[in-house]
Amino acid sequence: MVRIKQSITIFSILFLITSLITGCLGGTDATGTTKKDGVVQLKFTYWGGPLEKKAIEGVIKDFNDSHPKIQVNPQQVQGSYLEKMNTMASSNTLPDLGYFSEGSLPTWLENGKIKDLKPLFESGEINEKLDYAIFQFDDDGPIGGASVANEVYNIYYNKDLFDEKNIPYPPTKAEDAWTWEEFIDVAKKLTVDRNGKHPDDPGFDPKNIKTYGVNNFSTRYEPYIYSNGGGIVSLDGKDILIDEPETIEALQKIADLMYVHHVMPKPSDLSTIPNVDTALLTKRVGMTLDGQWALQELGKAKVDKNLNLGIGVLPKFKEPVTSSEGTPIVVFDTKNSKENWDETKEFLKFIMDPENSLPLIQSGLWMPNEVQWYKDPELIKKWTDNPVHPPEYKEAVIDWAMNNVRQNPNYYWKDRSKVNQILTPALDQLWSGEKTAEEVVKDDIMPKIEKQFGDKYSN
């Protein structure tokens, strides 16, 4: 019995010690990127829903099959991506490549955890990307990467609803874009309360709205402040434009969609609005502003559920303008990616080439990140000639993305995420109807920006 006891004691102490040691030292060897039989192992992390997962794994399988000497191991990170990356960075287990959050890109690039891809982009080894999709925060400074896919904002709507009410469809050409007044007029015709009344009818009940004319304009307000001649920051990143009268005016007009015209759900109503595909199918929402990625779900609804999907360009104040977004794929500065730079580069070129991510592009989730795919009719046909992309897509999205994009500060402004932390909560007061745009900008946003940045932007 004593023997047994002693051995149990010894065993448990050993167990504790070994688990501690492996726990502490696990970091050095947990990258899973060692060479096995001459095959280079690379780790790639990404986020996204089930459809994106399937597509990404498909792209990677194609790559692995055509490159027997390289093995890319995808890892999907669900939620809290940046927290995960930070944790991995602190334990030296970063992947070799992966999606990355734009907001933290400048810091990571400056601290050398993300590789400067400028030499690669300038070498001509990688196809020419859209200018506005390249992440570069200083003139001629290091390049953190380019968007793996392009995304621009458009209006998405259900054509059946427009037919029912005998309203002409939203324009598909930038030059025909609705003025703000025309747009509000249509939105009012689409908006109906439970008793079938429109916003201007006597007895209209704004608390019980069955169909909202529009949705999502307050979450993606930037194209409108550009359209009105305002902005967040100048294109050289040196002047804050939030307090320009044009910016304030546009912000106020977006808030008016909710509190003056009653054609858009208030933030508090948003939980009663289903997913975009259901919202359009059930006619809960007439038109929704969304990124092009929405076409994946909407295209699926179009094919599977007979959604009569339409796409239009955004209404304008002065100029027809949209903005863009896109997730960069970056190369992390790991030991493995340095040692196997050629293989890492090979995979980066592969996944950045629209040709190889065609399934994702054809599904509607992505748009190509290269200029030629917007100009060459053959290439355009390749990605849009399918049931997901409606006929007006060429004008309303492709030409629109080619000619009417104002570059998103995500791509060139280091203080973007810090300013957003000030902007987003402050604008809550505008979107909730408590304050006017003027009050929010002048009394709340600007003083905070001055306090945070000192005289960096005061001129």
Partner: protein, 317 residues
């Protein structure tokens, strides 16, 4: 004892060894076994609590960003927090508001619930289960549930207000009602605290209550002069635990409000989290965390100090 016998048989200890030595070696063996059993807890405390605390104290004097090198910056982080941080004061205010509000109302309602649960009625155990149930719901799940209850249009709470002919509220979607709404959510899950109160209530000496009856006192007198003084140690315990927990509120902000609207629920721990993991300012976040630690320590100390004036232990005045 069996053990003694086993030692004799198993190891063949010579019989001439004195009884004293045997007992001493037995004591030693028991002590060793005790330490080994306690070892996981001790190691856990050292490695996962004390260790990281020391590490974060050191970090708080650096500008460590997780990525890249770090430099020793002395008290710079602390100075910046008090002079330059545009979120510090707001989040501190929000946290104080929530901590005191939720502790007070949770304690009050837990006490009321405990008094009710202590009554000898039919289905007593059913009621006790019902009140305790919210405690076993995981925080994230209950937060999502409450998101629905708080919904200004279709939420149950507004439906009830509407039914009663009262004006409806925006709950967590309005700056002024956001924190009170989250306090309501804390009150809902007061079952754990109530259970501790219940244990305290059952220790209230029956003879003293009867003495009040004999002396012609009513229910209030019983409560005020017997029950309350007897359970002051329990109130003391719940107060401290509640306050410490409330100061560290985080999940509600993370799951329900993202600190909004307009930073009305921007809890201090949420600020720490954002600085550490979203802004990569781990050194700065550590300094923030130490300030919170000191604040909590001061309040705890204050309550402990004050306790001798209002907490009564049996057998002492």
């Amino acid at each position: 004892m069996n053990l003694e016998k086993e030692i004799k048989l198993g190891t063949g200890v010579p019989k001439e060894i004195t009884k004293k030595t045997k007992i001493r070696s037995l004591h030693r063996k028991e002590a060793i076994a005790g330490y080994i059993f306690a070892l996981p807890a001790i190691l856990g405390l050292l490695l996962w609590t004390i260790g990281p605390m020391i590490a974060s104290l050191i970090m708080s004097f650096t500008n460590w960003k997780i990525i890249g090198a770090s430099e020793w910056v002395g008290f710079q982080n602390y100075v910046n927090i008090f002079t330059n941080d545009i979120y510090f004061k707001k989040s501190l205010w929000v946290t104080f508001y929530f901590a005191f509000g939720s502790t007070f109302f949770t304690l009050l309602s837990a006490l009321i619930v405990a008094l009710l649960m202590n009554m000898n009625v039919k289905g007593q155990s059913v009621f006790r289960t019902m009140y305790y149930l919210p405690v076993i719901v995981p925080a994230v799940a209950s937060n999502i549930l409450w998101l629905w209850l708080f919904n200004p249009d279709f939420g149950l709470l507004n439906t009830i207000l509407d039914f009663l002919g009262l004006p409806t509220l925006m709950w967590i979607y309005d700056e002024s009602t956001a924190i009170p709404s989250l306090i309501l959510l804390s009150v809902w899950s007061c079952g754990g605290t109530a259970l501790i109160f219940l244990a305290g209530l059952q220790d209230v000496p029956k003879q003293l209550l009867e003495a009040v009856d004999i002396d012609g006192g009513n229910v209030w007198h019983k409560f005020r002069y017997v029950t309350i003084p007897t359970i002051t140690p329990v109130i003391f315990f719940n107060l401290i635990m509640g306050l410490i927990g409330a100061f560290q509120a985080f999940t509600q902000a993370y799951v329900m409000t993202e600190g909004g609207p307009n930073n009305a629920t921007f809890f201090y721990v949420y600020l720490i989290f954002r600085e550490a993991f979203l802004q990569n300012n781990m050194g700065y976040a550590s300094a923030l965390a130490w300030i919170l630690f000191i604040i909590i320590a001061l309040f705890t100390l204050f309550i402990f100090r004050s306790s001798k004036d209002w907490v009564h232990y049996g057998g002492r005045k």
